[in-house]
Structures are given as structure tokens and as C-alpha cells.
Amino acid sequence: MKKNLLIFSLCLISQVVGAQNIHFLVPGGAGGGWDSTARGTGLVLREAGLIESASFENISGAGGGKAIGTLIEMAGHRTDTLMINSTPIIVRSVTHLFPFSFHDLTPISRIVGDFQVLLVRGDSPIRDFNDVLALFRQNPRNVKIAGGSVRGDLDHLSAALAFRAAGEDPRLLAYVPYDAGGKALAGFLTGEGDVLSTGLGEVLEYHRSGRLRIIAISSPERIAIAPSVPTYRELGIDFEFVNWRGFFAAPGIPDDVAEQYSAILEQMLETPEWEALRSRNGWQNLFLDRHEFVLFLEQQEQEVSSLLIELGFLRAGQE
């Protein structure tokens, strides 16, 4: 009730301040995950009457770095632009691939996310994550982990974090990189690798058909669309991970404007239009408002950088 009241009052503010148009900046090409989320958000906002119009711009290059640079250049003169980004912004700034990080932007809110899973083929003798750990302890080369990103990026990191949380040395992980989630899935289906590390959304259909079997998910508790899959926590391993998507505005935009964007996005998640889009794409609503979002980002940055130091990607103190 209190929340509704808050939203109501923010609605009034938005009437006064007026979010007429939002310009969405997509750091990658058309048709990708960032693109579909940003365009979906813009369309739903407009259909629901929360804004008057939405425009979109794709700036690809440097793994998203070009778009971040563009947004930073907007500081001080444009407040109508929201950039979508996701977990890689953390990884790539921690590894100094980007000369900037989320600290240089104004985080608005986290909206959706996907959990990372580990899975095996349907006929695999591996039953659960403990079996994987047992094999790994015999000889780390017994467990080849396939994933759809380069070493040191999402699929590798999430698997390495899980192994570290289970008390193993993440440096010994035999990781087999593919250049996209789909390629990794294809390779895994041919029989390459023993365990696949990827996002839940990419493999849910395969899990349902029984061809592949998810053995662990990085969510805090079991989730409704895959109720049979145990979390790491249930196995006694202190590990959670969200591959999130969220929005950022240019650095230094006024607090009330940022607050207003965050409120509009929160309202959007309640609309039936959004629900239709979300369920079609298999996204999980994982909203965090802008204050919670900053805390979350700081925590993820901590985890990722400590792991990367351990993996030898970064020297301690280089951070």
C-alpha cells in the first residue's frame, strides 16, 4: 500500500517533470539480447502510456565500450538517454578492458536477469554437482567445462566462482570456450565437454525435453519454471549469481530525474504488456531500484575482481 502510494506520488511528479521521450542506447547490434530488452522496454513504456515516445540507437564496438564512452560524453547536456547494459560491464571494467566502469555512470535500475546453470547431457553418469566435484578432486582434467564466452568472461567466471565457493582451486578448471551460447550448446550436444556452463534461458527447453539435465542453478532459491533444479545453496555451497540487465543514465544527471526513471521502470514491470514480453523471452523480473542497484553492483564487482585476481587475470593491488 505504501509502495503504491509512493508510485502514485511519483506519477504525479512525472506528470510535472514530464518524461516525454526516452532515448535508448544499445551497446551492441540489432537483434541481440541487449537490443531486444531495450526495444521491448521502450515499446512497453509507450504502450502503457508511461512515456510519450521512445527512440533507439545501436552503438556497437569494443564489447560495449563505445556506447559507454558515448554516454559519458553526454554528461551535463543530455538527461533523456538510458543505456542498457549487463554483467559484462563489471567484468570488463574490472579487467581494465574498459577505461571506465559503472562508477562513471548513473545506475538507474536492474530490471531483468537470468541465472547461470551447470548442466550435463541426459545420459551422463553425473547425477549432481557433488559428482562433478568428486571427479574434479580425482583429477581436475576429468571435468571439461564448456561455455559460450571467452575465458575470464561470464560462463567461465560463474563456473569458476561456484568451484571456488565449494573450496576448489578455480585455476585448475579445464574450460572449453565457444564464441556464443548457441555454439557452446551445439558443441555440447555433439558430446564435447562434460559439463556446460550457460544461462538458464538458453537451455530450458533442452532440460524439459530430457536431452540435457540441469544439475545446479545460481539462484537464491528454486525457481518456478524449473522447480526440480537444486540451487547451490541446497548443496551447501555459498554461491549465488545473477546475470542481470539494467539501465544506466549519463553521469551527473539530477537526482530527481534519476529517481523518476527508476520509478517509471518499476511501474512498467507491473503492466500486462511487460508480463507478456517477459514470459515470451523467459526473463526473470529482478527489479532493484537505483540505490539497491548500486549496492548490488558494488558487491558483484568485489566478487568478480577477487576471483580474477585469484585466476591470475589481475595482480592484487592493480585494481
Binding site: G61, K66, K144, R151, A180, E192, Y206
Partner: protein
Amino acid sequence: MWDGIATGISTVLIPTNLLLVACGCIAGTFIGMLPGLGPISAIALMIPITYGFDPASGMILMAGVYYGAIFGGSTSSILVNAPGVAGTVATSFDGYPMAQQGKAGKALAIAAVASFAGGTIAAVMLMLAAPALARVSLSFQSPDYLMLMILGLTAVSAFASRGNIVQALIATIIGLMLSTVGTDPSAGIQRFTFGSLDLVDGISFLLLAMATFALSEALMSVLKGELQPGSKARTSNDQIGSLRIEKSEAREMVPVVARSSVLGFFVGVLPGAGATVASFLAYGMERALAPIQEKLRFGKGSVRGLTAPETANNAACTGSFVPLLTLGIPGSGTTAVMLGALISYGVQPGPQLYQNNPEVFWSVIISMYIGNVILLILNLPLIPYIARLLALPRQLLIPLILFFSLIGVYLVSFNTFDIYMMTAFAIAAIFLRLFGYPMAPLILGFILGGMMEDNLQRTMTLYDGSLSFLWERPVSLGITVLLVLVVLTPVVRTIRDSRRQG
């Protein structure tokens, strides 16, 4: 299956859907003709338009755009040596020399007929065997792909047989080296990026192809003094636009089309290979099978050399629908975009698509036939006009080529750094060409190099650094034997010939 085909036919023959195929093909052809805009950009442009369509109609439109863009893509390769997509690089090997000899119309006609035949034969195979082919998609592992790419690299020999073997090999190695710029996949570190964000994703194919092919070609003709008002056009207008394919040439094309479409289709079915590898393999295969005299014409305007890659790349594009529709796995960037579109229509791609949404599955297949026919009907009458582009005065044509190549690259990245890099590569390419280094092996090495390295690194991790895959995996073993035959046969023949003479 017959039920499915009937469903497909009845879905596609709805007037709106027929219109969508036609519009898709036309839009695709024109987008594909522009250097720099390939099937991925063409399809991505269509996505916002198809919101709200039913899934079958949306897929029909996009499939139409896809074949259209591939059809159109060969045009810029043949006319101005500007392959905008990796799949049409091999088309330029013989298509461009043919156009230079004043036979642009013929080259375009051969490409159109070969594309039509490749696309149609592949569509028949797809229809008859798609569900069974899912197994073929999953039969190749990283070591097999590695050997397949190495086999594809032997197409270099077409450019090495003119007395400049060393130059061709050096050019190949430069290409392989350029492919290592960017993020190393298995170590995750940056290589040769000099701390620059612009090089983190590596050098883009489009940039390198435009710089080494289109830009350097245009600048070379400036150097050769073709811009002088006194230099006359080599051939008359009528000949440039003529579509006439001689009977003997048609007879030559038939077996090439048959072989290349089967090869192309199966390579396309493999999610880790695709149209580019298919076109190189078909080119290499036809050269290896050709009689000695014909062999020498490869790279200089051979009918076979043009037919093979054009047929194979179209067949492979059709083949790439197998993993998409039967497994929900995208085999290429283009099918990945289509997969995203399918999801946004609310269709769950994956092994169940065939059962759950038969109308999507079958109508895409049926629309391929119609699309191919429409493309042929649409393109043949246009060829004389398109070919006449070459009849433009050089003073006009060359600046146009320079302009479109640069704009094409810039529009993809919106990054001025790319323009500088492109100019630098074009200048380097001119020097290399002046010293007799062919550019085709360089681009071949560049394209295959990245894929070879990915597969090699995976193989090494999977086999713990051992080479045992060479004899443990039957597919790898088979390709290796083929590779040895392809490399050694000419050597043995040369030795035998020289003994006989000596």
C-alpha cells in the same frame, strides 16, 4: 511429411504471405547489393517491421530477405570486387576477372543461375530430410572442424600456381596473423591491441575485405593510369550487358552445380562451418577435380570457379536452417538473429518446434522454393542494367567505389578509427600487390584463421594437448586423408612429369 508440406503450401500461398516473400526478396537483394550491408543487417532491419506478425509470416519475410541478400551480395563481388559478406569472397575470385574481361552480364547470369540451382536443390534436401539431418548437424566436433578449415585453406593453391607460390603463402600467413588481433578466447587476454579499445573485438572482416579488395583495386586502377581521358573502355556496352551463357559453358556448369550444392548443403548443416567455409571448399574441390588446362583458368575468370562457390554458398544458407529449425541452435550470425526473432514471436525454438509449430517449419521450407523462383525472375531482367554500372566512366566509377566502401564500413561501426585503419590496410595492400602478392590468400587466411584457432584451442583442451584426435575420430581421419591427397597429388604428378621429360 505430406501433411506438413500441405500445411506449408497452404500457409505460403495466402496472398499476404506471397507478397511478403516477394517484398523480402526484393528488399534483401537491394540491401545485399550495397557493399557493407549483408544478410545480418538486412534481417535486423526487418525485425521491428515484423513485430505483431504471426510467426510463420514473420519467418517467411525474413527468410525471403535472407536469400535476397545472399543473391544480391554476389553482385558487388563480381562487379567491383567488393565482397560485403564473407560468403561471397570466393565468388569474387573468378567473378571479378570475368567482369574485367567485359563479360559482367554473363558472370552475373551464371551467379544467378548457380544461386537458384543451389538454393532449390538444397531446399529439396531440406524438405526430404530435415528432421533426420539434425543428427548430421551434431556429427562434427572441434577437431573435425579444425581439419575441415585446414582443407578449406588449400583453396589458396589456386593463387599459388602462377609462379608466385612463395608470395601466396606469405599472403596467407599475413592473413592468419591478422586474425589473431583481439581477445584470445582460451586465455581471455588481449593480443596486439596496443591498449586500444578499437581493436578489442579484432579486425572486422568487412573492413579488411573492403580495404584489400575494393579500395586497393580502385586505387590500383588510378595508379595504372586508367583515369586518363585517353584510355578507352575495353569492351562495348552490349557485351557487358549480355546474359548469354554458351551451351558448352552450361554443360560445364551442370556437374559443378550438382556437386557443389550437395557439398554446400551439408557444410551448411554443420553449425560450426557455414556458407563461407562451404564456398571455399567447393572452390577448392572443383579446382582439384578440373582437368589441367581448366585448372590454370581458376582465378582468371573460370566458369567453374564462379559456379562452385555461388552454388555452395546458397545451398549452405538453406542448410543452416537445419540446426535452427530442428535443434534451435543458430549456426551463423544471421540465423542467430532469426532465432531471436522467433523467440520474440512467442515461438519456442528447439527440438520441439517441428511438432509444436509445424506451420512455421514447413512454411519456411516452402517459401524457399518460391523465394528462389522470385529471385531468378526478378534478377535476370535486371542484370543488363546492373552490369552496365561498369560502363560508367572510370572517373565516376572509381570515386563511387571508394565512397561506398568507406561508407559501408563506417555505417556498421560508426567509428572513425575504422576509416583510418581501412585506409592503412588499403595502402599496405597496394604495396603488396605491386610486389606480386595476391590478396585472395590473405583474406582466406584471415577468415579461416579465427575459426581454425578457436577449434584448435578447444581441441587441445579437450584432448589434454594430445594429437590423438587425428586417428581416434573417424571424421578427422577422413578429412586428414583427403587433405594429404589434395596436397600430395599435384606434387607427385609434377615429379612424375619431370621424370618422364628428363
